[in-house]
């Protein structure tokens, strides 16, 4: 059985605004899926995961794992600290998908 296709392939094919909205909505869903009861009543895409939303480091790792499942991307552990909010996460995913920035080198890869 083939591995499932990423449901977010539209972020490279749809118009930029639509793709961005879909991506943010998908990330928002994953953040809510981790620990809905932890989230404050009012928050937005700029809210910081740890400071404003109360997510801890384990929650962030789970969020990254979910993000990888949804997008099909591999987020190196070194890049997790860059994902500080939904906006930052969306920008990171978009940049990786469009190939404008490569992933940070993982500890498993040899030095160039």
């Amino acid at each position: 059985m083939a591995r499932k296709e990423s449901p977010l392939t539209s972020i490279t094919t749809a118009p930029a605004d639509q793709a961005d909205a879909e991506l943010r909505a998908a990330i928002r869903r994953e953040v809510q899926a981790i620990r809905r009861e932890k989230l404050p009543l009012v928050w937005n895409d700029e809210s910081a995961y740890q400071k404003d939303l109360g997510l801890d480091s384990l929650d962030l790792v789970e969020m990254v794992a979910r993000l990888e499942q949804v997008t099909g991307l591999f987020v190196p552990d070194e890049d997790i600290a860059r994902l500080t909010s939904i906006t930052a996460t969306a920008e990171y995913v978009r940049a990786r998908r469009l190939g404008s920035t490569g992933p940070a080198r993982t500890r498993d890869e040899p030095n160039p």
Partner: protein, 173 residues
């Protein structure tokens, strides 16, 4: 889908051996592991399945688990053990398939596997091979660390008799 949560603070080692012998479809262990077995439950090793009679004294009352997934370090490693814990379980008839790591693992990779496994279960994977293919993370180190031993076509469903047995497993929650 029925699920039982048997954490180390709620069940003894002997209780866990009984639980694994209920004939359930899938067991997922998350914690610390070594080539000799799980660190949890005061240390669960392959020989405990003999010692408590789960596979020996009352074989008619025991059924193998469909698959046991050890999402932790080194349960499939042969370092200083000859035969690893993950290899011993299918050979002893405790389970039809066993999934474990041959080296130390990163907790981030283990989280990736755990999330993927839960998603694949929710999507209705019916065999352990299908489950792992669906769950496979994108992280190269997560893929490189783990091995599946046993039958990849092992079904991971539970029948009502197994569920009844599992509900009777003694816990202290």
């Amino acid at each position: 889908m029925s699920a039982f949560r048997w954490t180390g603070d709620a069940i003894t080692r002997e209780g866990m051996v009984d639980a694994i012998g209920c004939g359930l479809g899938l067991g997922l262990y998350v914690g610390h592991g070594r080539p000799v077995g799980w660190v949890g439950y005061h240390g669960l090793r392959a020989h405990h399945f003999h010692a408590t009679g789960a596979t020996k004294v009352h074989p008619s009352a025991c059924e193998p688990m469909g698959a046991i997934l050890s999402v932790c370090c080194r349960t499939a490693s042969r370092k200083r053990v000859g035969l690893s814990y993950a290899e011993s379980l299918p050979l002893m008839g405790v389970t039809a398939a066993s999934f474990g790591a041959v080296c130390e693992t990163l907790h981030t990779d283990n989280t990736r596997w755990a999330v993927g496994i839960c998603d694949a279960l929710a999507e209705g994977a019916s065999t352990v091979g299908e489950l792992l293919v669906r769950a496979a993370p994108t992280s190269p180190s997560a893929l490189r660390s783990y091995r599946l031993i046993g039958d990849p076509l092992a079904p991971i469903g539970s029948n009502e008799r197994s569920l009844r047995r599992a509900r009777r497993v003694r816990t202290y929650a």
